[in-house]
């Protein structure tokens, strides 16, 4: 009799657990940022921005400042694609100082406040700064992502800033983004 009661209790518990599991998995799958799309944009930034001759050889170093799920996506990219025959190296950084020597610097949302300091730190150096958070292009990044009202992913272009870093952006990339100056 007791055994039957226990089984009934266990069954109820099981039901609750499964329900909670259902809700939990549901939460996991709700609209989350698609960093694969961000990665694809970044790969195209790399392809359609021209670095000075001296920086066009050897490995292409992409630094990610701050914790961001994009690091994993960029590593997948680096393991499967090259940039004009160059290996892509992903460097995970926690401080601006660690980013020295990179070709492209990605500022994750959590490190957005660093953009002004990084602007100073990378002044006149051939580094493309890409901001995850909207508005960073106005504050010193060369490019920053924008999520439009209908969830389309776009990017702002600070052409002046890009040129100050001795980089050339192709007209096709310019026509794709939103030039803010």
């Amino acid at each position: 009799m007791n055994n039957t009661k226990h089984i009934a209790t266990l069954k109820k518990l099981l039901l609750v657990v499964l329900l909670l599991r259902g809700i939990y998995s549901g939460n996991c799958t709700a609209q989350e940022t698609d960093y694969k799309a961000y990665t694809l944009f970044i790969y195209n930034f790399m392809k359609y921005v021209e670095w000075p001759e001296a920086q066009s050889k050897g490995d292409f170093v992409l630094a990610v400042l701050g914790d961001s799920p994009i690091t994993k996506e960029l590593q997948t990219l680096a393991s499967s694609k090259k940039l004009k025959g160059r290996n892509i190296i992903i460097k995970k950084c926690n401080t601006p100082e660690e980013t020295v020597g990179c070709n492209l610097l990605y500022i994750s949302s959590s490190k957005s406040a660093s953009v002004k300091a990084l602007k100073e730190q990378t002044k006149d150096k051939p580094i493309l700064i890409v901001g995850e958070r909207e508005g960073l292009a106005k504050k010193g990044a060369g490019l920053s992502f924008v999520t439009m009202e209908d969830d389309e992913l776009k990017f702002d272009i600070n052409k002046k800033e890009i040129e100050q870093h001795q980089l050339k952006i192709s007209s096709s990339l310019l026509s794709l983004g939103i030039v803010i100056n």
């Binding site: 266990l10 499964l18 989350e32 698609d34 694969k36 499967s80 694609k81 969830d151």
Partner: protein, 684 residues
């Protein structure tokens, strides 16, 4: 042993469930996809979404609407409590007319007015006269003599692309007919039609046909030029039941309750310049007049309107657009050709409107919309013996408006602040502000809204005003909506509201059946609306619940229920709606819609002293089923279904004590539908 077994099943199920998620990120598949993904062209990049490929539900809740803000915003951040009804939902459900579509929207209901006409109610409040604005392709359908809109086999349901419903106030944008709500109907435009579409509906009630309607649309967009021409002609009947008045006199509605629409909609656009003309000619046959059965037999009651619009948005700069617009509409509502046109009600009204709206996008996050509008109303009486209050057969009124709205989007919240000022030469001023805060945070969203709203007295409200004159009624509405996207395929939204209307315009008839309007007392309602929606490739289920109470609100004698402090006449405190679609095979869908009405209150008889007697009407459950099939013949779809399967024989109740008995709706109706699209050329 049993415990072990239970534990084993739990473990297996847990991991089975988990694996369903993991299956989406299978390494090999992803690697292949990713490689293809990296080789996407720049043009393909433009189509990428920040949150990945949207689910069917996300496509819906991220779709942009501008009904609540003029500036397009997604449904979850739009600063009103909004319902969006898509063409797909309308077609799948087999909806016979707008009543079938709108009664599934939380808080929307219908009641009977005079002369057999069915009007709309919102959140427990009778809103038929000027409290809900019905827009069709931007044209204000409400007739301007009484500000009413008639429902029942009226508008071309098969030509609708989408309906955006504001279930709350819209006056700060739309003015004096949008006090309690806005129904924005958008029909299929040139690029949607892109060819020729013909469709037909036949409905068979128990005793006679319910409707037989035919539609045709032709449209094409070619470079800068676009045109569309659409038409509808039909015959319908309100009911095949028997209407019995308070004096126990009856008439058979079969053959005596026609709802016959004729409609056309022509639109031309070249670059930014657009012109539209809509004709709406709605003939009804009614045998119940002001409540008593018309002894001489049912009579024709016609509502005729023609609308014109010319609009040209001028792009002053990349950030600044100026849109001049002119509208003209001429309307002859409540016309009874069955009577002598020299003695019966026979009035025409027209409105000429000029509007100049500026939209200034200071940046992506700050937008201002401001402008001015002016209109002139003119009405003429064509009888030999009746006059307007000015003792002539012509009246003319003038109104001017200023409006402004600011929308500021920040990372934390979106703010919307707006106001509208109207000044009318007969009834004076109305000023309505609104403030809203909205935001979505990934899965969660909220809206906190305060809105002032007003109802502008229409021409006959002024004409039949009591000696003290008539003023706009002013309303204040507080609304709070919370939403949570439970999964990528389902969302739960719930909102509460509080409506307070001061000095509402109240209609009553005196002992001689003469019409009167007066501002009187306070009214309003409070309530909750909630909806759970699942949408996926297999179909969708939307279940909503609406509740209102007037227990804490002022009461207007004509609308109140003496036996219940929480209810108003005609409208159920509790409503439950279901709209479900199951796509069982390619092109084949099974659809069920249902509406549960809790108890309603109605005047159903008069006592020996001539006083109307109240009765509590039992709950009603309307269940409908429709099968839609897209045939292998390209462009041809057919459907069949049954409305009111349980044969409840729904009855519309008069929401005020006007001496009208309950008006029967149709009995169980079998519906057949055919739709054929012939595309000129495949759309890009």
């Amino acid at each position: 042993m049993n415990r072990i077994r239970v534990f084993f099943y739990a473990t297996v199920l847990w991991f089975t469930n988990a694996n369903l998620t993991f299956a989406q990120t299978d390494t090999v598949a992803v690697k292949k996809d990713t490689l293809d993904y990296y080789d996407m062209s720049l043009d393909q990049l433009l189509k990428l979404k920040a949150h990945g490929v949207p689910s069917e539900l996300e496509k819906l809740i991220n779709s942009l609407i501008s009904v609540a803000s003029k500036k397009p915003l997604n449904v979850r951040e739009s600063p009103s409590i909004v319902s969006l009804i898509t063409e797909e939902e309308i077609k799948n459900s087999g909806a016979r007319d707008l009543i079938d579509v709108l009664r599934l929207v939380p808080g929307i209901d219908f009641g009977v007015d005079v002369e057999g006409q069915v009007g709309i109610g919102v959140r427990g409040n009778w809103a038929h006269e000027g409290k809900v604005l019905v827009l069709l392709d931007g044209q204000e359908m409400n007739e301007i003599l009484f500000a009413t809109t008639q429902f029942g086999n009226h508008y071309p349901i098969e030509q609708i692309k989408k309906i955006e419903v504001i279930r709350g106030p819209g006056s700060a944008i739309y003015g004096g007919f949008a006090e309690y709500g806005v129904i924005n109907i958008i029909t299929r435009q040139a690029e949607d039609i892109n060819g020729l579409t013909i469709s037909g509906t036949y409905g068979q009630m128990e005793k006679d046909y319910g409707r037989r309607n035919a539609n045709i649309s032709i449209g094409k967009k070619n470079g800068d030029f676009a045109f569309s021409l659409s038409g509808m002609i039909g015959q319908g009947q309100r009911s095949d039941q028997t209407y019995t008045d308070f004096a126990d006199t009856s008439y058979n509605m079969t053959g005596n309750s026609s709802l016959n629409p004729k409609y056309f909609n022509a639109a031309f656009a070249y670059k930014g310049l657009s012109f539209r003309c809509i004709g709406d000619f709605y003939d009804t046959k009614v045998g119940d007049g002001y409540g008593n059965v018309i002894k001489s037999g049912a009579v024709i009651e016609s509502f005729n309107s023609i609308f014109y619009e010319l609009k040209y948005p001028i792009q002053i700069s990349e950030k600044f657009t100026l849109t001049p617009r002119v509208n003209y509409k001429t309307q002859t509502p409540w016309l009874s050709p069955s009577y002598d046109q020299k003695t019966a009600y026979n009035r025409n009204a027209n409105r000429a409107t000029g509007n100049l709206t500026a939209s200034w996008n200071i940046n992506r996050h700050i937008n201002f919309v401001f402008g001015t509008e002016t209109y002139q109303d003119k009405a003429t009486d064509y009888t030999d013996s009746s006059f307007f209050a000015n003792r002539t057969q012509h009246v003319s009124y003038f109104n001017y408006t200023f409006f402004a709205q600011g929308l500021i989007k920040t990372r934390v919240v979106n703010f919307i602040v707006g106001a509208r000022y109207d000044k009318h030469n007969a009834y004076g001023e109305a000023f309505v502000p609104r403030i809203g805060i909205t935001k979505k945070y990934n899965k969660f969203h909220f809206k906190a809204l305060y809105s002032g709203a007003f109802r502008a007295p229409a021409i006959e409200n002024i004409n039949y005003a009591d000696s003290g004159g008539i003023r706009p009624e002013l309303t204040q509405v507080l609304e709070l909506e919370l939403g949570y996207q439970v999964t990528r395929k389902s969302i739960l939204t719930a909102n509460v509201y509080d409506i307070t209307t001061n000095n509402p315009i109240v209609y009553y008839t005196d002992t001689t059946n003469a019409d009167h309007y007066t501002n009187s007392g306070h009214s309003g309602s409070q309530g909750i609306e909630a909806e759970y929606r699942i949408k996926d490739k297999w179909g969708y289920v939307a279940l909503n619940y609406a509740f209102y109470t007037v227990a804490n609100k002022g009461k207007i004698h004509e609308y109140e229920v003496s036996q219940s402090s929480s209810s108003l006449l005609a409208f159920a405190n509790h409503r439950l709606n279901l709209n479900a679609c199951w796509k069982v095979a390619k092109g084949l869908s099974l659809n069920a819609t249902a509406s549960y009405y809790g108890s309603r209150w109605a005047y159903t008889s008069v006592d020996s002293l001539g006083a109307s007697a109240l009765e509590k009407i039992d709950p009603t459950f309307l269940l409908n089923f429709f099968v839609k099939y897209d045939t292998p013949l390209k462009g041809l779809s057919i459907g069949a279904g049954c409305y009111d399967i349980l044969n409840q024989k729904f009855k519309y109740i008069q929401p005020y004590n006007g001496g009208h008995a309950m008006l029967p709706a149709s009995s169980r109706e079998i519906v057949f539908r055919m739709n054929y699209n012939l595309n000129f050329k495949k759309k890009n």
